[in-house]
Symmetry: C2
Subunit: 229 residues, 2 copies
């Protein structure tokens, strides 16, 4: 929830010159996301989000995320694809960070959705899954069930300093969960972080699904669980 | 540089209903200022800054700041006055904080002004001082020369833990400064924090002077010194 990398107006103006997006009119650092720096940027031709990716891991995965957004955008879904520069590139570098200029979407994140808003969000999730049916790139779920045992091992006996016996209790719980984990649910690319903050709405209408930086290949029920979580 | 108070979309929509500003379209917390929470708010009728004042001292001074902004706005200067609600009120409460909905100004803060930009900023400062000639409200400068001796006393001998003899050196320096402090320079309401971050520009043109929350009655040269500082 912070701007980690400062971008001067001068550097931003020079960056925007790579694109056919007009001249810089306003730029405000926005407190959005936890891992990246984001600016809301207005130009004489429109409004954009500038994202600077702060962690190296994101940089390696950016081509996957951007291809996924282009795929959904190409099918008319309300997602924020990256803007291509005059040479067709979507992934850039700015202030030493990987950076993308991204389409701005209107709408607000609802804190306590009504039934009608929840139905709209569910429908948008279903449309997204249907649109990803023929998306062929894959990415492992770095937060998926296979990652939990190594994570538990890394925490190790230090968990017992939080509460006596915690490591054993979690180890047993994890064994039960892994043994019963569903193996045959429909799998595709999923959003993997589709909680209310990442669903933009106006009234009862979904105007955007955003923040695809956990997107990966996993069971579709993963999105359903996060949305209900 | 953070959003301290979270405002839900639901609470913000209800708040905006007090004003004749249309319906909420987008809201983003912005990383601006150090003491307040700020949101960039778009409605069907325009764009605004929502500021929630986090410190009690600001609340007591808000009527002064808002009167000063109205005075400058009334004379056609590019400053961001508070929007009046349907009952004419400018100062509100939201999420337990004093809050104002403020006119949005385009422009960016320049990091390394060119000579032409510096001349424009100086001219804008001069116009502001001229426009404040007949502004009659007063407010002491809480960061002014009278505040330095009490501040030094509060720090006291603990300064010597930073560097041996530091308290004595600063005491002597302060005595010299106070003895030579100019007593007869022109005085009026001044901005008191008019450094490049608080001057919005497009190209070589000043599009706004912002962040008047240190404004006070002092010598005009104070603004000149801050702008050069």
């Amino acid at each position: 929830m912070a701007v980690y990398t400062q971008v001067s107006a001068e550097a931003l103006s020079a960056f925007l010159n790579k694109f056919d997006v007009g001249e810089l009119v306003s730029a405000k650092g926005i407190a959005e996301g936890v891992e990246n720096s984001n600016y809301l940027v207005d130009t004489t031709k429109g409004r954009f989000i500038l994202t600077l990716y702060e962690k190296r891991v994101a940089a390696d995965d950016l081509p996957y995320f951007m291809a996924l957004l282009d795929h959904l955008d190409g099918k008319g879904l309300a997602v924020p694809p990256a803007i291509k520069d005059r040479a067709g590139a979507e992934i850039h570098e700015l202030e030493g960070r990987p950076a993308c200029l991204i389409k701005f979407l209107t709408g607000v994140s609802v804190t306590t959705p009504t039934a009608a808003q929840a139905i709209s969000a569910g429908a948008a999730m279903g449309q997204m899954h249907a649109a990803l049916e023929d998306f062929t790139l894959t990415r492992p779920n770095s937060m998926g069930v296979e990652s939990w045992a190594p994570l538990l091992e890394r925490c190790g006996q230090s968990l017992d300093q939080i509460a006596p016996g915690l490591f054993d209790r979690l180890s047993n719980a994890l064994k039960r969960i892994v043994a019963r984990w569903p193996q045959h649910l429909p799998t595709s690319a999923v959003h993997a972080d589709l909680f209310p903050d990442n669903v933009l709405m106006l009234g009862e209408k979904v105007t955007g699904l955003i923040d695809f930086y956990f997107a990966c290949t996993d069971v579709r029920a993963y999105d359903l669980a996060v949305m209900h979580g």
